[in-house]
Amino acid sequence: MYNDNERERTMALRAALLEKGVHTHEQMEEMENSFDAWGPHNGAAVIAKAWVDPEYKQALLADAKAATEHYSAISPFDWDLVALENTDTVHNVLVCSLCSCTYKPLIGQPPFWYKSLEYRARLVRDPRGVLAEMGLDVPREKEIKVWDITAETGYLVIPQRPAGTEGWTETELAAIVTKKCLIGAAVPQVGGAAGQSSNNAQSVEA
């Protein structure tokens, strides 16, 4: 009964806000147009830099918020950020079991699977099963650490740099770090279908 008229209700809310002068056209359009500046391409650039520059990686692990300040300055949120390093013995994966939190300046608006009731319910209890279902088989010897985002501290997973990327430029490296990799639901693949899905705000159906 309500599930097919969200568009009409969104436009009604927008019209009411404009009429009451709560927001201006310009404000809302500026926010909409800024969406493509937030996204996994930022997180991927941070990871690529951390892979080629050990000092930067240490800075990122010590104070991720300061090390990525350039990207979060555009955000109206005041979140903290912690970088989590995947190793031979630990794989990190993120969830927001209570709503849909992610560190948007670096990861973007979360994808639909991340916001699904199923992912939110199941990941904390059975991360290995959920990741396997999503196509990521984490070896038994690796502990899977789950990070449930509840108090506006976001996380950025630093994947392990895959073999076969020796001598790659930062741009080439960033291209294999997808949104799923930044969340810990995938690991970077060499020679796989690369390609970064971004906010795609400007490319959706009107």
Binding site: G108, S116, E118, T150, A151
Partner: protein
């Protein structure tokens, strides 16, 4: 007991949907909506906690079947109304006649933390803490049900941010220390074959020194 939104560990959920699709928006109204909420955060009618608390008050039958941005839309609309920036009549006036807005249950009084952030030195990294299990029902509490009453270890001092049970009412809420608390899955779900750590960030008021 907490609300329908508190999903962590709940049994019965099936396959993860849309696994191969990392897109964030499918239709334009979805990011028009997010443009509104971000304008609100930037200019101050309400904070993310207001929006979250409205969503927690959506009736379960709608919560469990609505699309994600359908829940966000109610969160935004009623946040403006409860902040006094709009009335429901304003909204109705712009809504086509054959379209109905789902209602949400009214807010309950604020859930307050320590009046003065308590004793700032009462915990340190490495301490074992137990999450309270006596939160009042229907308030905005950001402690997932699966860690309530459970014991974990403080692994990192988090930032100081407005206390959610008060921040959801837009009044300037006192800031309180958050902590990253690490739990072992074996302590949360003893029957689970999977081991490993789960970390949740929690406000100081939510925690008690472990017995």
């Amino acid at each position: 007991m907490s609300g329908v939104h508190d999903l962590g560990g709940k049994p019965g959920f099936g396959s993860i949907p849309m696994v191969d699709d990392d897109r964030e928006y499918k239709e334009r109204w979805e990011f028009v909506l997010m443009g509104m909420t971000r304008s609100a955060y930037a200019t101050g009618p309400y904070r993310a906690d207001s929006l979250r608390y409205v969503i927690e008050r959506i009736e379960p039958s709608y919560y469990l079947t609505a699309p994600y941005y359908g829940r966000m839309l109610l969160g935004a609309a009623y946040s403006y109304i409860e902040a006094g920036a709009l009335t429901f009549e304003d909204l109705q006036r712009h809504t086509p006649e054959n379209v109905t807005w789902p209602r949400v249950s009214p807010p309950l009084p604020a859930h307050t933390g320590h009046p003065d952030n308590g004793d700032p030195n009462r915990f340190a990294v490495g301490d074992r803490v137990t999450v309270r299990n006596d939160f009042p029902e229907g308030r905005h509490v950001r402690a997932p049900g699966y860690v309530r009453g459970r014991t974990g270890k403080l692994i990192r001092k988090g930032h100081m941010i407005p206390f959610p049970g008060q921040a959801c009412f837009r009044d300037p809420a006192p800031r309180e220390r958050t902590w990253l608390v690490q739990f072992e899955r074996a302590d949360l779900w003893p029957d689970s074959p999977e081991r490993g750590a789960i970390t949740v960030d929690l406000w100081d008021s939510y925690l008690l020194p472990a017995a």
